[in-house]
């Protein structure tokens, strides 16, 4: 039986710009992924709890408010506390180049900025999740 990869696409923080998140969710669906989408303005606690209940292999975080340095690492932190540190966390949105090393250090596996082709994200997930 074919087993679709389950991915959570979530928007932490207070901005309401969900276009990017929805485009990624749609592209992943068309690539055969099962995408759980939880809507805008989610706390890191909500995102991590959802990732556990939904047994996703990856969490994609989209943030355009500039709070990514605080919010993205917090999601990783809570997942680790819940014994779910194996869940891959990646991010996107408006993230300045110079912040990327700090995010990677905090456990964000990859950051996809504006202009990323959705095929790149799909390839990345297929390669990273076995």
């Amino acid at each position: 039986m074919k087993k679709p990869i389950r991915v959570l696409i979530a928007k932490p923080g207070l901005d309401g710009h969900d276009r990017g998140a929805i485009v990624v969710a749609h592209a992943l669906r068309d690539a055969g992924f099962e995408v759980i989408y939880t809507g805008i303005r989610q706390t890191p606690e909500q995102i991590a709890a959802t990732a556990v209940q939904e047994d996703v292999r990856a969490v994609g975080l989209s943030c355009l408010s500039g709070a990514h340095l605080r919010l993205f690492p917090r999601v990783v932190e809570i997942l680790r506390e819940k014994g779910a540190g194996d869940i891959l966390v990646f991010g996107g949105g408006i993230v300045p180049e110079e912040d990327i090393p700090r995010l990677k250090e905090a456990g964000i596996a990859a950051v996809f900025g504006p202009g990323t082709m959705t095929a790149e994200i799909i390839d990345y997930l297929r390669r990273s999740i076995t």
């Binding site: 074919k2 669906r29 759980i36 939880t38 209940q53």
Partner: protein
Amino acid sequence: MGLAAAIANGDARAASRLLSWIEDGDRRAAAELKELYRLPAPSSVLGLTGPPGAGKSTIADALVGRYRARGERVGVLAVDPSSPISGGAVLGDRIRMQRHATDGGVFIRSMASRSWPGGLSRAAADAVRVLAAHGCRTVIVETVGTGQGEVDVTRIADTVVLVCTPAAGDKIQAIKAGVLEIADIVALNKDDLPDADVAARSIETAFRMRPPGGWRVPLVRTRARDGEGIGGLASAIERHGRFIAGGGILGRKRLANAAHHLRSIVRERLLEKIAARLPDDREMERRAARLLDGSIDPYSLAEEIIESL
């Protein structure tokens, strides 16, 4: 510790992992389920069905809020359709329920239908028992947006609530022969939309045709986004619960559903066994060549193959 034991200990990750195994048809699931089925079934399984966008998830969210206010643990299974083309899915029912995401007394699981017909997922019946083992005495099962034939929810739920809207005035006529027949309660949601009174009358007329003496299907008007009418819906659900508990209706319903589930497990196992012995694609094509020159018909050829198994 196996998953079943961990689930009974309240481990959410174990529950979610077993749910995935069940969905994926993973061979390891059966051993865990054998243990889980020794634990009690939920005391109540509530089905929510109805057309897309009627407000099933919003009503689920409001009901979860009420059950939580009484301190009950609640599970929600929310099914959305899989793409018949890619096999993927966007599961968005949770959006309406995220205020409960960090409440340890609520376990919400989104499921893709994975092309299973009937409005649910193949995994739904077993998934209800996983949530029960996790401590959810009440489980809400939300179907995909339904049209006419998706009535599987009645094989799982004790009480089925059909959620519809006034905007679907004509569609209510259309669903009369399908999901309306399995409804124990009708929630007419978004009842501030125009034509709500007309829709309410046409639904009530349809139910008046039912023979007297049995359960009278109540129509409850709701505006779930604002919490309006949810109290009335909750008491209708409780009244139906008491009605079926009396007179042995619930027992008969659960027996019929258990038999249905058993039959589907047996059928699935048999199919698996037989499928493994069927000729492979190349061999099928070799045999099918006889169909093209007209030397044999597909039914006689199928009988030959079946006898050779």
